[in-house]
Amino acid sequence: MSMSVIVAAASEGSTGEQFTFWTCAILSVIGALGLVLSRKTVHSALFTALTMLNLAVLYIANDAPFLGLVQVIVYTGAVMMLFLFVLMLVGVDSSDSLIETLKGQRLIAVLLLAGFAVLLILTLGTALTGTQSVGLVAANEEFGGNVQGLAHLMFTTYLLPLEVVAALLITAALGALVLAHRDRWTPKLDQEALSRLRMERYAETGAHPGPLPNPGVLATSNAIGTPALLPDGSPSELSVPPPLRGESRSRLAAETTEIDADVTEVREIAEGKETMRPKALRDVDGHTDLAEVYPEEKGD
């Protein structure tokens, strides 16, 4: 695919590399600007990922194919993914207020950054004029390839740093575990405890112990905002998801009148039996205090 093209282009120093460089450079700068300028944090993360992908390509173009792939795997695949995870855990909608709160921070930062930029331009300008790249062809050939060459360096000259870095990684993993660990102060609620709690709440407040009724059951449509009908024909507001409840009041009312005719019909058919469902159960659905229903149970 394109990778071998890039590698080939880079080693030749041809217009292929020019093309690759300019494309990726522009994209990565766009990504970096996006990171700084986006208000939504997720966008920042995506822009960062874009920059990192492009940097990977630039690494490959710079005769560092192994590093480029590792960049994709480590940065794009793991680090940025971790960022996304954390973003989603802390709430993806957290967007930044752009008002500066630190007195003078922005002014001093801009001044310093300007100075920094000037310094960079001056130093780089003088340092880089007339430099020519040696190229890595010879260095890569020495051990039979880029990976082999890197491996040779890492496991001989840089063995100690490598070991230290490995220790650092393990320490970091443990540190993250410790930091993210939350002690459990209360026993874990298992299925039995949960159901017991539910029944206790039922006994105390009369809250319905079972799952909520599904929306639209026995109703005219199965849209999510449509309340279910109970066996006695009354609509159950509990079946509507909480965010839609208030909004769906009017719809609920309309629905109720619409089905009123059907309900009356059902009632007529069931004439003589009064109700198909004891009042007590309906009261439970409607959060009636249980004490009213079972007054003698109070003392227990």
Partner: protein, 432 residues
Amino acid sequence: MPELSDFGNDPFWLVCLKTLGVFVILVVLVLFTIWAERRVVARMQMRIGPNRTGPFGLLQSLMDGFKLALKEEIIPVTAHRAVYWLAPLLSAITAFAAFAVIPFGPEVSIFGVITPLQLTDFPQSVLYVLAVASIGIYGLVLAGWSSGSTYPLLGGLRSSAQMISYEISMGLSFVAVFLYAGSMSTSQIVSSQQSLWFAVLLAPSFVIYVTAMVGETNRAPFDLPEAESELVGGFHTEYSSLKFAMFFLAEYINMVTVSSIATTLFLGGWMAPWPLSLIPGINSGWLPMLWWLAKTMLFIYLFIWLRGTLPRLRYDQFMAFGWRVLIPVSLLWIVLVSGLRAIREEMGDTSNTMLAVGAIILAVLLGLLLLATMRRTRVREPDIVEPTGPLSPQAGTFPVPPLPGQTFEYTPRSRQPVAGATTSGSQEEPDA
């Protein structure tokens, strides 16, 4: 056998042709896999499966694809448009891209140009597959997030967590192969298996890879991120029409990809299996594509078989398995392999010593395994008390139905008329 220097020399038209070929192969394989899955699972469940469209229902998947493309597209109001668009594209493109380095066969002559039957290859091509796979995960996460709905978000997070976790053990299972092949390029790995497949030589790596690849593709029994009964459909719940088709396509391409990687890395790629490989000339020309196809189909069948057989794991069990079993075992195995190789490098031809050491290590591991299983059998039997006698519905915990041997004791309340239950003054007993 193609060398690494054989790649990158193709004329432009041949590159286009090869790309097209890979695309076609993938699409056809996907269509076939969907059909095969439905038929095979149907057979396993004593059904017939699709058999109407085309011979043996072979065209069923194609027709499904058309239908899917023509369906109305619904985009949630809360969706984040740009990302919502981007996600399926990312999924599908990376799925296709990973296939670029899969070798289908040896060098053949196409319109007079001698070229390997492989789109491209370079010294780090297996890493490339891993890299592309890790980008593919973005498709899932972004799909879940951009849908603006809870189920897809949870599903997306779950899928990506799962895929990242299993990608680690997958990558680790490659290490032993790299060590033995001395290369990270797919074509070199295939050619280094001429004498012995790595599935035999590096059996633990193979087992780890096969397990990880099922987790990596979110397939049963590791399909919990898409558990229909829990999360509706996972990250793609809010997707419909062609975008959903793209996710679907990506999932099946990924199946084919991981199968063909298994083939390439462990089953000798396109080379003929052992007794057949003795026939001279069988590993040249276009014929080896057949072996490649057969081996890949074998893995695809394995996927289908697993799906038809195994129940779904719980999420925490699944993650615990990945982190506490697969990764440690992979690490141990890598240490073992590199240790053995180091011994061989240092001590020359001392295979007897190596074998002895290996045997001892194996014995120790087996002993540990035995101990572990023995410990597991020592789980205390729960005290089962046969309930007898009358049971009060409010006794002890929460109302339960009477078990066999129990009689239900009615509380006074259940016999009494319920207060306020009367609208017309009737005092009827609730039927018990």
